[in-house]
């Protein structure tokens, strides 16, 4: 008899616990279904050398970070400093995907904020980005040596989330390679 009387209280407390848990979640973030899938097939002209291209073939044999960015995204500008820092590390290649932008603007922007990328593909229409499941900027993917997508980070890279989220994964991939 007693439990029945306290049932409303128990149900309510479960809802409170759910909310409490919910406060720590990110409802806007969409996890990528491309985890552990091979890099999608694509072919984009390079920003500084349009005759050549960035394609899925460039992702094999080394750990790659693909950073999706645009000149109209103010957060990307904030991220640029940090990207310049980490680009100095040799354990991975940093590629950029310029999303729905004007190439001339993109070049100016890089001249101003710095260019940490080894290769930059321009996706003016955004159709290739759809294949990557991109829905905003900035986003960063970690791809392993076999061309398999292993992690996606939504939002700007900072020393904080670099240390806690991305660096451990890169280290793990390096161990796997050995």
């Amino acid at each position: 008899m007693n439990i029945k009387r306290l049932l409303p209280f128990i149900l309510f407390i479960s809802i409170i616990v759910l909310f409490w848990r919910g406060l720590g979640l990110h409802p806007n973030e969409i996890p990528s279904p491309l985890m552990n899938e091979t890099v999608p097939q694509f072919h984009l002209p390079l920003l500084f050398n349009p005759a050549h291209s960035l394609s899925n073939q460039d992702f094999y044999g080394h750990i790659t970070l693909l950073n999706i960015w645009a000149t109209w995204c103010s957060v990307c500008a904030e991220e640029q400093d940090f990207l310049l820092q980490i680009a100095k590390q040799n354990d991975f290649y940093l590629y950029g995907l310029n999303y729905k932008d004007d190439p001339a603007q993109a070049k100016k922007w890089l001249a101003h904020y710095g260019n940490p990328y080894r290769l930059i593909g321009i996706d003016e229409t955004g159709q290739v980005a759809i294949d990557w499941g991109v829905y905003g900027t900035p986003e960063t993917f970690i791809i392993d040596q076999k061309g398999i997508i292993r992690y996606k980070h939504v939002g700007a890279l900072t020393s904080n989330n670099w240390e806690t989220e991305l660096l451990p994964i890169i280290k793990k991939l390096q161990m796997e390679a050995k």
Binding site: I30, V75, E78, G126, I130, W132, Y135
Partner: protein
């Protein structure tokens, strides 16, 4: 993480103010138009996450509508188009939640609850009257 969310929010506010009307309708047959509208109304805009692809004026929504339009023209079926999108964005893009083992409670719950609750009510009333 606050800033990008703020930007998304502002995009959504401005985009909710003009609906999305593209010129695709004039290039599709009536039946294809119906399919196009039906599909875009079943998909969620990922930028303005409380609007359908049909309603949203976000750039990504426009791109996705363009993708769907081209796929209809290529002769892909509705199922193929949905599969294309969910393989890239996950089930989140579906406005109607999928029916799988995780959402069983979601879809069946309300009706089960109603039946159980009314049954319990009658059971309780008969029992209470019997013990009087």
């Amino acid at each position: 993480m606050k800033k990008p969310i703020f930007i998304l929010f502002m995009i959504c506010l401005t985009s909710s103010l003009c609906f999305a009307a593209d010129e695709y309708d004039s290039f599709l047959s009536f039946q294809e138009q119906q399919r196009f509208h039906a599909l875009t109304r079943e998909l969620r805009c990922l930028v303005c996450q409380n609007q359908t692809l049909d309603q949203s004026n976000a750039a990504l929504a426009a791109d996705l509508r363009a993708k769907i339009y081209h796929q209809i023209q290529e002769g892909k079926s509705d199922k193929q188009i949905m599969a294309y999108l969910t393989s890239r964005y996950g089930d989140y893009i579906l406005y109607r939640p999928p029916f799988n083992r995780y959402t069983l409670l979601l879809w069946c719950g309300p009706f089960l609850l109603l039946i159980l609750a009314i049954s319990y009510l009658f059971f309780y009333l008969s029992k209470a009257r019997q013990t009087k």
